[in-house]
Symmetry: D2
Subunit: 363 residues, 4 copies
């Protein structure tokens, strides 16, 4: 396993879904940043199973605990260990069905790679719950980005094939706070909620697309040729379980575009160089160009469905049918929205430090 | 800049489009691997500007030169420095138009990040020519992968909105060798060639999609939670200039799928566990599952078009119209195909070593 | 701060002397290794303040707590978070004297680097207590090394200028368990104990030298030219507070030797190639040669002394005299012995994995 | 092999003693730094075999060649590839005696680690010649350090047991330029030259000690707990072949000192906080404290001696006597002095960038 991410702002993840806790160590955070458990809790709550139809019923508290690196309300420059303790754990179901490989899950690959020693309960290290740690680290990253005025917003733009119409940042900000799907388009929301209900009724699940946007990002983030901003963001985003695609700006649509359509013309506006369009998603040559950084991630439908599925029993090496019981989200997309924000914040923060834009001490 | 990639099998890129050379240092290559300049040349030639309509007319020889790390026809365990010398260089055009920011290029971001000191001639570090180094390193990686039986094939699956039909590995292998577009579908090839000719006639360019496939990949490659196989491949692939999206298996289509459709059922075939479908693209939980690893990358249309474009003169800070002259590919996609293979080989090789599947000495 | 060490076997340190806890995350540990809290506790107890004259009176329990990565008594391949909670904390003294820079301590450099935000209580991140985490990680590393038969022993070879006579491994093993100074020479022990008592009586402290030996190390550990075994061990050992020198084999004595004296002749013994002497300390060209790996580290006298000292008050920027009160070791050397073992184990383990000598799964 | 060093300022070494060339890629160098081949040549010449008695007669030109990263006389922000071509190569002797393991050399460990595939000619990767690359990278690092006023000087302080008396920086600077041994003490120089002549006459060799000093280093370099300035410098210095010990400030002498002697009292001088003595070698808690950074490295006597030596023939696995013929330095110490400077410059430069003290663009 390889559980550290970032060069100058480094996060190290640990913990399992049904172990004692899920945590993260944030290393390389400048000293002097004001931070409290409440700051972290507020963001963590966004990842919490909601009251909507889309979510699991696991009644976790997910209470943030700061173990190190904060002193008198400020970061100290030392590594910050953050964790949430696991309380509401029922592992019985997993023990019983452990030999049955759940389709779409990491059961099989984890079994093979770790020789059957992996903690399989609730998916262990492969559970979406691990992302609680990402979100906590993301709070610190976002606070550091605030110092240089960068804001990250993310929202649901598609679920179950139903697309949300394009919205402006203000509408998106509001959606993230209030809309049960973190979707800025009320009409799409209605249709999607219906689709989720339907899929849930059929014991099925839905995938979707999340868009993340970094506003007011400085020019110059990204370190080509290998640590391009696209590459680094993509790597961070693929750490979110269920993500199967990442695209920037026009993304895969570039395949059907001509250069004359896709090139963003440079213009001057109020003395600054901008581009008239943003097909580049704010990144040229792997480096941010001052326009909004726009990334979209494809989230596959939750593999845990209650329908009967074809599988294999790894103990008997025979074919087997299985039904997954227990609590599961019909659609993980809304809960993954704050995780997309967090991974963006972590990556941009690392690159802002690499570009010497955030000092060693925040004053 | 950050020009090293890989943890145990590490490549370090250097050189500029119009400097003395373009090169790569391959570190961490096991000793004892037979390798010759001819091996490298053969692959390098695939990246060479073709005779087809799609390609630039720069008459480079691109002759591979091995500077270190090979002794008596075998790798020694020492770092391997490979380079191609730049011969046919005409930088005059670039000097004249340097203040004009070419839309879709890295001119602006490079100027800002490197304070105007960057070598702008021919795009400098941002030129597609840099990928010659990637291809040379890819040859070594592919040879190492041969030791454990992994084969990587890549091919063009879409250009200018024209999609190729799905083909089997044998057809793809043949296409890569013979088809001018490295496209396995002859009918699509015909249509695309026509579209390229048309776009070229209009001074325009076309984007497309390349698919890379790793056959016979072992189970267990990938190191979650952060060094997932998807994340690592994506990071490597985004180092190819013009790539704006990366997806695995069903990719962005998962957004419109239900769990019951997207989950790949496990089955047993000749005593081995496989999946009946491969929506996962051979990766579950960030770890290879023994099925073909399937990735698709979106390549934007070449930003260098000869049509008039809206731009900015960075010296005068005034709006300006510009026309790019000189030699340019109408569609870079076919030439990028071997680069996609190379980046996949480099990444899989690194992970095969991390999983102890390739020994320190090849015998 | 940069709190991760190791490439394939990576430890990440966190926690402060007077914060909630001191911990470590061990990443890259193969799955299947049996491990219990008792294993860790046993080693941790060796670092505990002893009953001898040499030690502080802080009555910590230092109880090891495993937060993740162990399941059913075995490692899972997931990151292992280990910590000891801080219980017996009296920070009052530090608050009062905080503006007075203690000579020989990190007070000044930490204040300057972290803008005064660092947790200064008990030295914060710079306390020897941080090494509890190193020791816990070292237990896991040593257990992995057991798989390939490597044993690490360390012992005190000099304190206060009093040198211990050379002893054989068996005597050293015993000393580490029983001797209050972890010194294998009983006569030197007696003299040193007297010197410690004397120094303590004068409110002073003593430095010394620890020798670490890796027995039965395989040939081939170390990755020149930059990750030489000497360089990697040295880097790890300098993380122990108070270490100011590291030497291998004949060490600094090579300055007065001739090549004919210092070269270790190769000989054949029972079909294996050995060297007749071991001035190289088991390392040639940065790579282990199969002989015992021998390293010595110089440990400065504890900077906390109760004598009056010349200092500066950083608030008033005036000269000031100060006296350090509270609990402090007269000589830290004996307590640092298990830490030297731990750092050696961590480094050798990382390199054993890099050389593919330890598999991904222990069976 | 692992041939990259540094996090933000990264050097990657390649090349062999008797291959085509020896080179280095410098990555992470800010743009805008004026640099010429002459700058590099001047420093490189210092490492050249001298006219004195101490040196080999290999008549290399060691001409610096800049392959990339410099444009119009300035760094561009792109990786800088520097190399010296190998001209005067006579490998015959090595071919004949290849099976005989030279005592004190890496012949045996390299053979075992790389399965006999290593380039053994002239020591291959293990030759001191590799350090030409380090010296070239060091020039760039030193030029970057000039931007913040840091100066690095190194000098010979002991050879063959003969110690030089302490000298001030001005005397050391002069010595480095003029003294054949790069020793600032003329009387010691005389004695040492005699000792070298004697040892040479006996077909023997001598070791010694080099001291490196960084003047005017800023406070705050070093990233504890693992990237301490001591640990990072030590790792870099152990990459120099023949180095077997590294110590800072009082170094191993701390073992015989009391805390009251070893602690450096803080004082105020012209409004700045200094220490009255510098036993800490300018480093407290792994962080530079503003005093001169002082490091000493022990260099073993050249293992290549022309006396008869006991060895092993690895082909026959029998004992064998051997005599090394050919050109060899009686004492490598003077030639290693600029390499010590270079490794210090590289390490301090990396940490200055990490501390955001050197910007992305030099103006």
């Amino acid at each position: 396993m390889s559980n550290s991410l970032g060069k100058m702002f480094t996060v190290t993840s640990f913990g399992e879904s049904h172990g004692k806790c899920v945590g993260i160590v944030v290393d390389g955070c400048p000293a002097g940043l004001p931070i409290s458990e409440k700051d972290i809790q507020t963001e963590l709550d966004k990842r919490k199973p909601g009251k909507g139809v889309a979510s699991t019923k696991r009644a976790e508290e997910d209470k943030a605990d700061i173990l190190s690196g904060i002193f008198k309300g400020h970061t100290t420059g030392a590594p910050i260990c953050l964790l949430v303790w696991n309380n509401d754990i029922d592992s019985g179901a997993y023990e019983k069905t452990r030999a049955l490989l759940r389709p779409g899950h990491a059961d099989y690959t984890a079994f093979m790679k770790y020789g059957g020693f992996n903690d399989f309960r609730g998916g262990g290290r492969f559970s979406g719950r691990i992302t609680s740690g990402f979100v906590m680290a993301g709070v610190i990253a976002q606070k550091l980005l605030n110092v240089i005025g960068v804001e990250i917003i993310a929202h649901t733009v598609e679920i179950g094939g139903i697309k949300a119409r394009t919205k402006n940042p203000e509408e998106i900000r509001r959606a993230v706070e209030q809309n049960p799907l973190r979707c800025a388009d009320p009409q799409a929301t209605e249709k999607i909620l219906k689709a989720i209900k339907e899929a849930g009724g059929e014991g099925d699940s839905l995938g979707g697309i999340i868009e993340g946007i970094a506003l007011n990002a400085p020019i110059g983030l990204g370190e080509p040729v290998f640590d391009t901003l696209e590459g680094e963001l993509a790597k961070a985003l693929f750490a979110i379980p269920a993500v199967k695609g990442v695209e920037f700006g026009a993304g895969f649509a570039v395949a059907g575009k001509k250069g004359s359509e896709n090139n963003d013309p440079f213009i001057i506006k109020r003395g600054r160089i901008l581009t008239a369009t943003n097909n580049a998603g704010g990144i040229l040559g792997g480096i941010s160009n001052g326009m909004p950084i726009v990334v979209r991630v494809a989230v596959k439908p939750t593999p845990s469905i209650s329908q009967k599925q074809q599988s294999v029993n790894i103990d008997t090496m025979g074919n087997a049918e299985m039904k997954i019981t227990g609590r599961h989200d019909v659609c993980i997309v809304p809960r993954a929205v704050p995780v997309v924000s967090a991974m963006m914040a972590i990556t941009l923060c690392d690159h802002a430090i690499r570009a010497r834009l955030i000092p060693e001490v925040i004053k």
